[in-house]
């Protein structure tokens, strides 16, 4: 009799698990989303590392125009990186 009880509960729990388990398709979609976001983060980190590695420019104070171009280029690089990682 105990075996009947156990089997009945096991069957019901197996059905419950079947209804709510993560499907392969959804697991794959989450995996891709995570990897895409990490790709963007990796490219951003690489961009910053490259900027930090730039040698200082002694005796040369950047002008306002230089800084404007610098940030424009930086934004464009970040957008390209995000676009490349997103496949778009």
């Amino acid at each position: 009799m105990m075996d009947d009880i156990r089997t009945n509960l096991d069957e019901r729990l197996a059905a419950w698990a079947g209804r709510h388990a993560l499907s392969d398709a959804r697991a794959e979609a989450i995996r891709r989303a995570v990897l895409e976001q990490t790709e963007v983060a990796a490219q951003r980190d690489a961009t910053w590392a490259a900027l930090r590695a730039m040698p200082p420019m002694p005796n040369l104070l950047p002008s306002e125009e230089w800084w404007r171009r610098f940030f424009t280029d930086l934004a464009a690089t970040a957008l390209r990186a995000a676009g490349a990682a997103g496949g778009g």
Binding site: M1, N8, L9, A15, L22, I30, V34
Partner: protein, 177 residues
């Protein structure tokens, strides 16, 4: 026992991918066991691995059991944060969750089981979800949650006993006997 990941020489993303392959089902089971919401569980699962990415260097050096424990620690913190955010919202309408897809004849029994599982104490529901939904052994659940395997077996036993009583499985068996 999970096989150690070939991580130290692998690219960080490959290491993360391997971690995901090994732990995503158990983590999803953990989140679903607490939230009973498939979308929320999926979101929390994604966030867990994004956090893992930030520490992938350390994770890559961990022993397999330690990385499971680390991931579940992150998962626990994310759950607490999500509960806090939910509690902070003044009045949120209930989700229009679809009915579980079960054959018509089994629908009442399925709903009974859903309700009975929802009424279990949190730590019993957590252990049950990791066992039934995540496919983990008692030892693996203990490893993930930082509890002795014997305690996990006791929690699972209590959960099954409670479910049997609430679902009347025992009564039906008595009638049949």
């Amino acid at each position: 026992m999970a096989a150690p990941l070939a991580r130290s020489s692998a690219a960080p993303q490959a290491a993360l991918d391997a971690l995901y392959g090994e732990h995503h089902r158990a983590l999803y089971a953990y989140f679903y066991g607490h939230t009973a919401d498939e979308n929320q569980a999926a979101d929390l699962l994604q966030e867990t691995f994004l956090r893992a990415w930030r520490r992938i260097g350390e994770l890559a050096e961990m022993e397999p059991g330690r990385e499971r424990y680390w991931l579940f620690g992150v998962a626990r913190n994310l759950l607490i944060d999500s509960y806090r955010r939910r509690a902070a919202r003044p009045s949120e309408p209930l989700d229009d969750a679809p009915e579980p897809a079960a054959p018509a004849g089994d629908r009442d029994a399925a709903l009974d089981l859903e309700a009975a599982i929802a009424r279990l104490p949190a730590e019993q529901r957590e252990a049950l979800a990791l066992s039934a939904l995540g496919g983990l052994t008692s030892a693996e659940i203990g490893e993930a949650l930082g509890r002795p395997a014997g305690t996990v077996r006791y929690l699972l036993s209590l959960a099954r006993k409670t479910l049997s009583e609430q679902l009347g499985v025992g009564d039906r068996a008595k009638e049949m006997a």
